[in-house]
Symmetry: C2
Subunit: 442 residues, 2 copies
Amino acid sequence: MDLLVSGGTIVTMDPDRRVIEDGAVAIEADTIAAVGARTELESRYAKCRKLDARWTLVLPGMINGHAHAAMSLFRGIADDHSLDDWLQKYIFPAEARNVTEDFVLWGTRLGVLEMLRGGVTTFADMYYFEDVVARVTKEAGMRGILGETILDFPAPDNPSPAAAFEYTQNFIDRWKGNPLITPAVAPHSIYTLSEQTLRDSAALARRNAVPILIHLAEAPFESRRSQEQHKLSPVAYLESIGVLGPDVIAAHCVWVDAKDIATLVRLGVGSIHNPSSNMKLASGVMPVVDLLAADAAVGLATDSAASNNNQDLFQEMNIAAKLQKVTRMDPRALPAQQAVELATIRGAQALHLDQQIGSLEVGKQADIVLIGTGATHSTPMYNVYSQLVYALNAHDVRTVIIAGKAVMEDRVMHTMDKPGILAKAHEYQRKVAESLIVAPVI
Amino acid sequence: MDLLVSGGTIVTMDPDRRVIEDGAVAIEADTIAAVGARTELESRYAKCRKLDARWTLVLPGMINGHAHAAMSLFRGIADDHSLDDWLQKYIFPAEARNVTEDFVLWGTRLGVLEMLRGGVTTFADMYYFEDVVARVTKEAGMRGILGETILDFPAPDNPSPAAAFEYTQNFIDRWKGNPLITPAVAPHSIYTLSEQTLRDSAALARRNAVPILIHLAEAPFESRRSQEQHKLSPVAYLESIGVLGPDVIAAHCVWVDAKDIATLVRLGVGSIHNPSSNMKLASGVMPVVDLLAADAAVGLATDSAASNNNQDLFQEMNIAAKLQKVTRMDPRALPAQQAVELATIRGAQALHLDQQIGSLEVGKQADIVLIGTGATHSTPMYNVYSQLVYALNAHDVRTVIIAGKAVMEDRVMHTMDKPGILAKAHEYQRKVAESLIVAPVI
């Protein structure tokens, strides 16, 4: 046995949702070998190296189901604008002027660093120069489902969908089989891609047996256009052209009706809730309660730091629970335990990785976070799920273990150079700010 | 000159909303003596003791307009229940069994400690044994508008409204004129009090020239009952019996129409927005944008840790901004700067204290917080308001100065015994948990 996480309250998120007070988790190589009472595991593995977990909640690593990590360098460049102004006057010009391989390198490092420090151990990402994203993720010791964004117009790296497809095939060839990295195909959305590009994307994914990442049913204009052009909802349209299936991970799914929800469930599509982004950009409210009532695979996510403006899944759990309650005018909607499920086991289902991650169970990957409970704002504690969702926050995360390796211990990073990353982010801040001073591109 | 806060970005919240890069604030006794460029103030006050504010945002102390600080000991005892179950099966029985003078002493210490650590320098509070709340507030060096809750049924300390009135008169006599404490009269709400008690409360306040704290138009049932009983909205009813005026601080104001808003503005009533509590208890969404369009005095608040579950105004700024956007489906609604205003200068207006606090201006009280900007989650920074609302959080607060005195410096408490308070909170956790095991009272 390699490591015994010992003495905390184990929030297993297993099928029985066991919470083990004064428990322990034994790790062998990258795998969970035992979960149980501390006294029992300490005597069984008496010689094993111990990691003191007293005064912590021990949770499965949290899963951020939709991100654009490199955009952390654009944190808050253009808030409180209309969606159109935000995209056309700020984000697209800022990307055209700034996004290089080096930008993605340092932006992803910044985003990954923030996620790790907040207890995220797995993220799904779609951006540009995704090979760099994969390298950063691997070097950080993090788990990622990563896809190069496919667009019908020129992206910062690929001038055409054909180039993006070629990039993606090479990317898949390079990363498939990596224990931490799952390469994916990432067509941007139905409103930026032709039917042909969408079909080709799905075909590429299925030829390679990798997942598909896509934005779906995010904003009212998307639904409106889909109805105008196809007489179908976004979900129904994507189904009609054969893109939806048990390998799809669809971000947002805000504008879905009962029929769309049935489609997502029937086809095994994972849906990712981004409450902060959806509120801040005024996209709408995902009907999470209805999706869960239909037993859909729903995950939780931060979206990018340009539309949030952080990578903090604690905040998303908090806001997700409150948003469903007020939207439905029912304080019982999306209780705390379900919010934790979105960030762990159900999020793993949505990413189609629930055989490997999402709960503390024997045989699963040892992705584990220790969350300190000794702070003023988390005292007293009556219920672990309430505390996780409504009181604790990203800064309370003490230690993060991924595939059996500690990437952060007592808030000290083992795999990333925090001062170096922040220094580089300040350099980019000056460059990006200068690039926005000239007239908008459009 | 006693202290020069020197080198930070001064976010003044003055009438011009000046933001001074590399600025300084000079403090003499309890008062702000100068605000300006660092170089200028450092040469003018060369011999003054300096407090290094580099790498921080220097903000007016934040104002929590509605709290029940002692309920921090009930943090999360009963989440995700219907409002009726929450009150009848948990909160009222828990209060009946647990709330003593000692409970209020330690509960308020816990709540005040959390607020101070999150940059709150002024809070409005209504609870029981309010004299203890005032003692704790003074001993912590914090500013408070405090009122003993008046109920028509027996409270944990006073058996009747008459007893509560007598308590309140003594409370006012003891605290009026204290530089930190503003005593108030705190009738609970229109749905727990008779017209006579409401009128008597207002008369008591006006005889003593102190403010009135009240819950108003919080939940749909309150509006429904008011319409049934009085054929008036809660706001119109309170106006009709002469309670509303420029000394009233009304928490919630969720269910207000255009006419109610005009009434609140015309009479100079302060309204307090509690977004987390209103979402979590499914009370509804305050029309903040409409209130601000009418130039109403609107503050921001956490409500109690039993309905939130924290005392974190950063979270409230964040959620307030996002909630207005998604509710109105307009990403421009409640921009970041306005959210900061709710927590500072406009919050001061809502508490009728804007001559003393709420901005960094010469002659105002030296209530100042320093917020560190060097963390991963707040790098890079393009706009100070965006950063305050969407990226920074309570844990980033480094130093808190109230009336010229540092109560926390670089996160070390000077006026409160944090370990002692947390130890006592754990004792109470056991007591409260045991008290809830027996059958509900009802």
